[in-house]
Symmetry: C2
Subunit: 140 residues, 2 copies
């Protein structure tokens, strides 16, 4: 049996975050001591590892919830799991697309000024004031 601190050390997830995961229903402790402290078993450790890894891949709490539900029912089809992964991939690709546009514009803007003039005619400031200087459509 592990304390919350031991779980934290083994997975790299901070203690308050583990408590937060319990609050939102992702991870329940195996039980409590007489003094009300959480105790986890090996299953809890593995589940927290799963959560951590999925979070590190950008999956939302909601998506991870669904994935854990699937894991608990080994007989169910894994179609939903692949859909969730594909959705996440699509999200990431969309973000990449947007950030690439941002990078293009920020490179142009940054290179347009050495920072040694007056802010009166600074290329950074004038570029920000007018989207018509931009080569791409962009937003976050």
């Amino acid at each position: 049996m592990f304390s919350i601190g031991q779980l934290s050390k083994q997975t790299g997830v901070k203690v308050p975050t583990i408590r937060y995961y319990e609050q939102v229903g992702l991870l329940v402790s195996a039980g409590r001591t007489e003094g009300n402290q959480r105790r986890y078993d090996k299953e809890g450790l593995e589940r927290l590892g799963f959560i951590r890894h999925a979070r590190d891949l950008g999956f939302s709490i909601e998506a991870i919830s669904a994935l854990i539900d699937l894991q608990q029912h080994p007989d169910r089809s894994c179609q939903e799991a692949t859909e969730i992964a594909q959705d996440q991939l699509a999200d990431v690709r969309e973000k990449l697309r947007r950030l690439t546009a941002l990078e293009t514009e920020l490179v142009r803007i940054s290179e347009g000024c050495d920072g040694d003039g007056s802010s009166n005619d600074c290329y950074v400031l004038t570029s920000l004031a007018d989207h018509r200087h931009c080569r791409t459509e962009h937003y976050c």
Copy 2:
């Protein structure tokens, strides 16, 4: 003079967002009507355009505040402006780096399963359970 709704239409910034910008000190109205409604002049319209464009490039409210301060003092050096832009570019590049790693792993994971098996031995679920399947270090 423009009402908040006219400003909204011209810039594409939603009305509650404009009020939020006032609350955090980014944009003040030129004045109020007798009935307490906000009225803006051309300067306000331009400033909101600046804010909108900077937000669309991912700058934080805090950064935009600093940039507007610089704009208000045309005699000051624009060094800070270029620094802010370069910081933003560095941020964007860091995010791109991370998202690219995520994409690599998510492609592998998505392609590893057709979604026609049982969740018992689904490649998506086993990959999520163990980082050792991953080819990159990754996090958000």
